[in-house]
């Protein structure tokens, strides 16, 4: 079966010929029913990529095929299968939530009973039925975000593009949105392209993650594959404060199975190990035997943040 989203050498240059290349030669292959996250810092090219895929921006080169339609040459058909949830709260503040949904529903070609039932269904989904007839300007930030999501789902799209939908909202609303994304996949079988600069969101939601930086996808795969790809190790950080650590103890640490290196700095011992949690009891026993008191223990397992750091030398939120 052909992928539902496929791009080849997709690029975007603003103000050509001298303007910056926001996206360079992006090749994406996303299968039906997949949740794919584009993870990258601000300005990495996530929104530009989604804008090109949704027909809002004309690519400077390459092509994007959405559900079999070329977005550049067949935009109306492609847009019929896409639901876009932009980063901005793209709603009319003086209209009610229901009126906003009705207006955009009409632009998606819905009318009559089909439109009203789609509105009811979406209001149920975003859990806003009881406040649907209040003006959007009276909603909280989280409620606006939910209506913003609802608008993109009205026409039951096969593909949903979500561009940083959790920016600037409270943890409760954020949790609600993440659950909604999972529900879209599990209950409705939708394909979701999700952009974020929150590593934990990408890690929780995604079947696959594409790490994007300076307009280039620098790595792609499942979370596990990405971590394995960079061969990143667990870090065990043992706090010893100002105590004297005997060199023999450090040598014994180095002999524990899986441990590859030991460093002492600023009252902490940092032990890098292949399976950190398994090595931890042995490390504590050695320290006790050496008469070194450990005041705290922290185990850091490798994550997408570490992957990004490894690949770019920068933290995701720098």
């Amino acid at each position: 079966m052909a992928p539902i989203i496929q791009t080849r050498d997709l690029k975007k240059q603003y103000n050509p010929p001298d303007g910056p290349l926001a996206v360079r030669d992006v090749d994406l292959v996303i299968e039906t029913g997949e949740v794919y996250s584009l993870l990258g810092p601000n300005g990495a090219g996530k929104t530009t990529t989604i804008s090109m895929l949704s027909g809002l921006l004309q690519p400077s080169g390459g092509e994007a095929i959405i559900a079999g339609y070329n977005i550049a040459t067949d935009p109306i058909k492609a847009k019929q299968v896409i639901g876009v949830i932009p980063q901005e709260i793209a709603l009319y503040p003086r209209l009610t939530g229901r009126q906003n949904l009705r207006f955009f529903g009409q632009l998606y070609g819905l009318s009559g009973r089909a439109l009203e039932s789609a509105i009811d269904e979406v209001l149920e989904f975003i859990d806003l039925r009881d406040r649907a007839d209040e003006k959007v300007e009276k909603y909280s930030g989280g409620m606006k975000r939910r209506v913003n999501i609802g608008v993109g789902l009205l026409h039951r799209p096969r593909i949903v593009f979500m561009d940083e939908p959790t920016v600037g909202i409270d943890p409760q609303s954020r949790r609600r949105i993440l659950d909604a994304v999972l529900e879209l996949k599990q209950r409705y079988g939708m394909t979701v392209l999700y952009t974020t600069h929150y590593m934990e969101e990408a890690q929780e939601l995604s079947d696959r993650v594409g790490i994007i930086d300076h307009g280039v996808i620098i790595a792609e795969g499942t979370t596990g594959q990405l971590i394995q790809m960079i061969g990143e190790l667990d870090q065990i950080i043992l706090r010893v404060d100002n105590q004297q650590v005997p060199p023999a103890m450090l040598e014994q640490f180095g002999n524990v199975e899986g441990v590859t290196s030991v460093n002492q700095q600023d009252g902490e011992l940092t032990v890098r190990a292949r399976r950190g949690r398994k090595a931890l009891p042995d490390l504590i026993t050695i320290a006790n035997n050496a008469g070194v008191h450990i005041s705290s223990v922290r185990v850091q397992e490798p994550d997408l943040e570490a992957v990004f750091l490894h690949l770019t030398g920068r933290a995701l939120r720098e």
Binding site: S54, L56, L57, K79, P86, L91, F103, Y108
Partner: protein
């Protein structure tokens, strides 16, 4: 079509449910025209209006009376300075009018039609002859009542695009004609004419000597002093050959204010494209399977319909204000409904075109608002919303014609003075041309700049 309707509905729902917007759209123009109506409702004549140098022409075709009297010349003498290069500054009529003699009626009409003259007075060839007695009638005697003076018509030819200036000229001409008719001039001419005729008609001398004509002279004087019996009729004719009413402050100012504020509404309406771009709702519309043309078309058509609704509501409301201030005789918009509708459609189209162009050159909604305030205020000034355009110097007289305020306001004035669709066709044409030209410019500019 459904999508176009949805956008149009949304545009106007937002516009008409905004309280602040409603104040500017309806309350402010209504209050301003009511104030102007009240301020000018006590106006009785031209002396209340500060207007100078109204260009008028006088065609004196008067061939004189039977005894060589030339009453037609009185108008020329009163209105045209003996030396046109240096008019008498103390003569209010010379200050008020820039009058000139014109040799024939056709030329005068052409000058009025072209707008070079506000009006022309045409004095007929039989003017003096009609107002001076034929001595042969005295000499003939007989049982029938003696008619010493007949009736005559002065023709005032006017361009309907001039309002206040023409009204003043008409009143002045009427005043001079009243003076002639009241006997100060006519009776004097009659007596001097009779005295001069005695040598040729000896019977007259006998009748005068016996006093048998005393009753006749009394009759002349009495008849001449009755306004209803004024033998001089002023036929007021505009290019459509229609008689006119007096100056009506509400009819003069209300349409102007309605058009002025409608101009703001449609410009602000067009600038909502910029607001929607900022709010990202424009992009969101573009993300739906809706062609770009429908989105822009729906928004601009919505703006146009909003302007129309505002105009029609203001028309009704201002008519009600007029009814309260001036009674049932108020006629601000005229009575030719198809003409009113056609003119309104054209005026809103022109204003929408101008509004789109203004908004298309702005980068933000705020910038569009500031630009609109400046451009529309200048256009309103030039277009005669706040003062008669005839007060402008000659070299600026072309300015009003560049504004939709002038063509719209003038059109409504013509209609309020009894004009019909045919009379406002030039106005409608000018407005439509303006609308199309500005619409194309604005749309091109928006299309070029909007990144959706």
């Amino acid at each position: 079509m459904r999508k176009l309707w949805a956008i149009l509905w949304k545009e106007n729902y937002e516009r008409f449910t905004d309280r602040t917007g409603a104040i500017y759209m309806f309350l402010v123009p209504l209050v301003m025209s009511a104030i102007m109506g009240l301020a000018f409702s006590g106006m009785t004549g031209p002396q209340d209006v500060t207007v100078l140098d109204i260009p008028v022409g006088i065609v004196n075709l008067d061939e004189g009376g039977s005894q060589g009297t030339a009453l037609g010349a009185i108008f020329s003498e009163a209105l045209i300075p003996s030396d046109p290069a240096s008019p008498d500054a103390d003569n209010p009529l010379h200050r008020l009018f820039k009058a000139r003699a014109i040799s024939n009626e056709a030329e005068a009409r052409a000058l009025v039609d072209s707008g070079e003259l506000t009006a022309a007075l045409i004095i007929p060839p039989d003017f003096s002859a009609s107002l001076t007695p034929d001595p042969a009638a005295f000499a003939a005697g007989g049982d029938e009542p003696l008619t010493l003076v007949g009736h005559t018509n002065l023709t005032l030819y006017r361009n309907p695009r001039s309002t206040v200036g023409w009204t003043i000229f008409r009143d002045v001409v009427q005043g001079i004609a009243d003076g002639i008719a009241a006997g100060n001039i006519a009776v004097g001419a009659t007596v001097s004419g009779l005295v001069e005729a005695i040598p040729a008609h000896p019977l007259l001398a006998l009748q005068l000597a016996s006093g048998s004509l005393n009753e006749t002279f009394t009759g002349i004087a009495q008849a001449a002093s009755q306004p209803d019996a004024n033998p001089i009729r002023i036929r007021q004719v505009d290019v459509a050959g229609r008689t006119q009413d007096a100056f009506d402050p509400l009819a003069t100012f209300s349409p102007g204010f309605a058009i002025f504020f409608m101009g703001f509404t449609v410009t602000v309406g067009s600038a909502t494209i910029l607001r929607e771009q900022r709010l990202w709702t424009l992009q969101r519309m573009a993300l739906t399977p809706t062609p770009r043309g429908i989105i822009l078309g729906g928004k601009l058509l919505g703006t146009y319909v909003g302007g129309l609704l505002q105009m029609f509501v203001l028309m009704i409301a201002m008519s009600l204000v007029g009814l309260i201030l001036q009674g049932p005789s108020t006629n601000i918009w005229g009575s030719d409904l198809p003409a009113v509708v056609a003119l309104t459609l054209a005026a809103v189209a022109a204003a929408t075109g101008v509004g789109i162009t203004i908004a298309s050159f702005a980068r933000t909604e705020e910038q569009a608002g500031n630009l609109a305030a400046f451009v529309l205020f200048v256009m309103g000034l030039a277009g005669g919303i706040f003062f008669p355009t005839m007060q402008m110097p000659d070299f600026l007289q072309f300015l009003p014609r560049l504004t939709f305020h002038f063509w719209g306001g003038n059109g409504y004035t013509i209609l309020s003075q009894g004009g019909a669709l045919g009379d406002v066709l030039p106005n409608i044409a000018a407005l439509l041309i303006m609308g199309v030209v500005f619409f194309v410019v604005g749309l091109y500019q928006f299309n070029r700049r909007l990144d959706i």
